[in-house]
Amino acid sequence: VGDTGVDHRKLAIWVFLGSECFFFGTLIATYLAYRGRSVVGPHPHEILNIPLTTASTFVLLMSSLLMVLALAAAQRGDRRQSRIWLALTIFFGVGFLGFQAWEFTEFIHEGLTLQTNLFGSTFFTLTGFHGGHVAIGVTWLATLLVLDLRGRLSVGDALKVEIAGLYWHFVDIVWIAIFTLIYLIP
């Protein structure tokens, strides 16, 4: 703990998340700047599946609840509960990635790729990088769960769960913005 009264590791993850705001901010800005400028189709209104994406958004939001329940259990020393919530968070994270894989596959079948038009380039870059972050989050959480199952996480390691959780929630809030700006706004 430094002069700020905050653990250095926790301060570091928040600084990192601040830098991630710039990263996703520029990707979202690029998508919006090129919005409606594709010369050829498919265009967003022809291809975006809003009911499916609403379902995947719900899955990711609920994974955030599961993550915070895992942290609460870890902080009170209930390792069994913590493992259950952590495993469910991973399951929901994989579920979100499944939705995204299905969506990408559908789009490619309908003729939208990274090279098709400006919409395809900016859409796949933005949502692809977000999906990559989700995949990293799932790997991080799975690593924590395996370490816990092998008895290599103690009650005093709740901060490790908290830091992984902060990353996971950040991935969630980025998707909240993407869902509105890319999918819902006509």
């Binding site: 703990v1 700020t4 009264g5 905050v6 653990d7 926790k10 301060l11 928040w14 600084v15 998340l17 601040g18 830098s19 705001c21 710039f22 996703f24 901010g25 520029t26 979202i28 800005a29 690029t30 919006l32 700047a33 090129y34 919005r35 409606g36 400028r37 809003i50 009911p51 609403t54 958004t57 719900f58 939001l61 609920m62 955030s64 609840l65 993550m67 915070v68 329940l69 609460a72 902080q75 901060l159 959780g165 902060l166 929630h169 950040f170 969630d172 809030i173 909240i176 913005a177 869902f179 509105t180 700006l181 819902l184 706004i185 006509p186």
Partner: protein
């Protein structure tokens, strides 16, 4: 040795609060999905969706990420870049004439 605990060990929200926040998030998501199909809301659809999205964003950051309960230092290192990132989005979309639905 200090008498008060460090900020990172400060009391967070209760499980009941987390469940309430999750319920609110689910309801807002359902409303977001519903309002895009209500023709009467078309004139205010964009600001309405932005407000609902901002509310969800704030709920997750304040309660699930504990920014409401944690040190102000953490709020500063996160909200500073967030404000600049939003500024970049507004500036770039305005400069390119693509500021949401307001085409030139």
């Amino acid at each position: 040795v200090t008498a008060t605990p460090p900020h990172d060990q400060a009391e967070h929200a209760s499980v009941a609060t987390y469940l309430k926040v999750a319920a609110i998030l689910a309801v807002i998501t359902a409303l977001e999905f519903a309002v895009i199909y209500i023709r009467a809301l078309t004139p205010i659809l964009v600001p309405l969706l932005l407000v609902m999205s901002a509310a969800k964003f704030a709920l997750v950051v304040l309660f699930f990420m504990h920014l409401r309960y944690d040190s102000k230092v953490l709020s500063t290192v996160f909200l500073g870049p967030l404000v600049i990132a939003i500024g970049i989005i507004v500036a770039l979309t305005t400069l390119t004439g693509a500021f949401l639905v307001y085409h030139r």
